[in-house]
């Protein structure tokens, strides 16, 4: 039966053939395939893990304010961030803020930055003093209570792990002994561990009866700009939107920690491209003879280049999936052994990066395609 009389499935059939050849080339030599996928996976893991750290730095630096729900933050005049500057204003100002038209309520917060001993090391901490019941303590607990009273404190789980303390234990902080009543999570702001204590205790630590910040909630329909103008007229303090303060914190973190991480991500991505290029090129060169046979038999471009590209695609996808697993494993191991930094491998981030890595690998995959294009079909006559 001549082939012209046989039902043909056209391009779909040729693409299926290309996929079939690519898959068989990859899976026939399992050891090589595993090594190639592993090399790509390591490159993908480094990129994913580092980018996860970058995402965590960004998200964690604004987590406290994001969870507060406040529309405005009042600070000492000239201070426009939460995490780094030391703001202080008299408690009496709070009453004046409450009188500004449009303000529903303002909750005081006392913040103290410091370095404290934890186990065999010292860690940066951010002590938040809040009035129990106003909701400005920890927003997510691992264990214990979110409401410290008197000489009690809620500590971040990373801090608790490194300091080796649990609920019920006593710890020394800023020259005071406190009892741990709760362990919080999600409260590590880019390596600055949040600790939560009653407002008056934080004032004792700060050595002053001042307030650091006022978290302002507006009445429905109130004009934000009018309220800001009203607060700014009080004197000695200024009001900024939560987004502005959070943005300033985020920018500081990003420029001091995030940018170096991003540089590492780019370096890892470039290294990944080189690894991918070498791996994919080698995998194709190994099959030079097979491609020459395909050419001699009369295989068209779809099959020839398609199988080389699909080989790159299949390897890349497997590499990314394996890399994701490795990155998640490394993040989990780090979290278990030394939870100072975290890597947020959110699905949207992984999906976005996977797309970038696969696209970059496919670009590297053009190298083998170029090789296939140059193969002389007369290779088939060589003994």
């Amino acid at each position: 039966m001549p082939i012209t009389t046989i039902e043909q499935s056209g391009i779909t059939g040729r693409v299926a053939t290309a996929l079939f050849i690519a898959w068989r080339n990859l899976t026939r030599e399992r050891r090589r395939w595993l090594l190639s996928a592993s090399a790509l996976a390591v490159a993908a893991m480094i990129v994913l893990f580092l980018e996860g750290i970058s995402r965590w730095l960004e998200v964690s630096s604004t987590a406290y304010l994001d969870h507060s729900g406040a529309q405005l933050v009042v600070s000492e005049k000239g201070i426009e961030d939460l995490l780094f500057a030391q703001s202080a204003f008299p408690p009496g100002v709070l009453a004046k803020i409450r009188e500004v038209p449009g303000v529903r309520t303002v909750d005081p917060v006392v913040a103290v930055n410091g370095i404290v001993g934890a186990g065999r090391t010292h860690l940066p901490v951010y002590l938040v003093g809040f009035e129990p019941g106003d909701g400005h303590g920890p927003w997510q607990l691992v264990s214990g209570s979110a409401q410290p009273h008197g000489a009690e404190v809620v500590v971040d789980r990373g801090f608790a792990s490194i300091a080796n303390v649990g609920v019920g234990d006593n710890i020394g902080l800023f020259g005071h002994q406190l009892r741990v009543v709760g362990i919080s999570t999600g409260t590590n702001a880019a390596g600055d561990f949040f600790l939560f204590a009653p407002l008056d205790f934080a004032q004792t630590v700060a050595g002053t009866q001042t307030i650091s910040y006022g978290l302002v909630y507006l009445n429905a329909g109130a004009s934000t700009s009018d309220v800001i103008a009203g607060i700014n007229r009080i004197g000695g303090v200024e009001a900024l939107s939560r987004a502005t303060i959070a943005g300033n914190d985020s920018e500081t973190i990003t420029s001091s920690f995030g940018q170096p991480v991003e540089i590492l991500v780019v370096v890892a991505l470039v290294a990944g491209v080189l690894i991918a290029g070498i791996v994919l090129y080698t995998a194709t060169v190994e099959h030079t003879r097979d491609y020459a046979v395909l050419k001699a038999l009369g295989a068209g471009r779809i099959v020839l280049y398609g199988s080389a590209l699909l080989q790159s695609l299949v390897l890349s996808v497997c590499g990314v999936l394996l890399g994701w697993g490795l990155a998640a494993g490394v993040a989990a191991a780090l979290d278990a052994w030394y939870p100072v930094i975290e890597s947020n491998l959110d699905i949207d981030l992984v999906a976005k990066l996977a797309g970038v890595i696969i696209a970059v690998n496919l670009l590297a995959g053009l190298l083998p395609v170029r090789h296939v294009r140059r193969i002389d079909p007369q290779e088939v006559f060589k003994a």
């Binding site: 039902e7 043909q8 038999l297 068209g300 007369q378 003994a383």
Partner: protein, 223 residues
């Protein structure tokens, strides 16, 4: 009318004083069901000639027609023409190691877009005809030399080509297996009506050819 007509086929490599003429003014015609044996030592131009006839190499001069239709070497669909009109049998079999015997045989059909089921079915029938149905799912690495050459022949025949080009088809086989393979090619060609050119340096195969031509220094010296 001849199935294959080669007229004034010439191939030179290099330029100026470094020009080497591999094949010079070769004329060849092969009829349907005819086996032509091209005998010649290494370097005589056999493979270059077969490459030009098979559309793998563009001649410097001359034409090749198949069933009266001229081969235009610059045509972008030359590969497709090769796929539909020529079946190759190679000295080293050139089976894809990642595919089973039946998948290797089905490959030319799959390359033109024939669905997997139909292609495999037809390859199975052909392997059965060549006495290899029991080895269909074996990978080339596990086949003997004779079995590989039969698979290679089945692959050459599956797309019902007009021409079979065999390059040293017995060189990798012992005398007995080589003769067996050649007899198989002869039987298939006589049954299928293809025009067949076999290039070899093995003079023991001459009795299996319909015509024997000798090639030396790029030219056919008798026939």
């Amino acid at each position: 009318m001849s199935v294959l007509e080669a007229r004034d086929l010439t191939k030179t490599f290099g330029s100026g004083e470094a020009t080497v003429t591999a094949v010079e003014s070769v004329n060849l015609s092969v009829d349907s069901g005819e086996i032509v044996l091209l005998l010649g030592p290494s370097g005589s131009g056999k493979t270059t000639l077969v490459s030009m006839i098979g559309g793998l190499l563009t001649p410097t001069q001359g034409t090749v027609t198949i069933d009266g239709i001229g081969r235009l070497y610059q045509r972008s669909d030359m590969a497709a023409m090769r796929l539909r009109t020529i079946g190759f049998v190679f000295q080293t079999f050139n089976l894809l190691p990642a595919l089973t015997a039946v998948e290797n045989v089905a490959l030319p059909l799959r390359l033109v877009g024939v669905g997997r089921r139909v292609a495999i079915e037809r390859a199975g029938v052909l392997l059965d005809r060549l006495g290899l149905s029991h080895r269909g799912h074996a990978y080339p690495g596990t086949l003997s030399g004779g079995e590989k050459q039969r698979v290679s022949l089945a692959r050459a025949l599956i797309a019902d080509p007009r021409i079979i080009l065999a390059d040293e088809p017995t060189a990798s086989l012992d005398t007995h297996k080589g003769r067996e393979a050649m007899e198989l090619i002869r039987a298939s060609v006589h049954q299928g009506g293809q025009a067949c050119v076999v290039v070899t340096h093995d003079t023991r195969l001459t009795d299996l050819a319909d015509r024997v031509l000798r090639i030396e220094d790029g030219g056919i010296v008798d026939g």
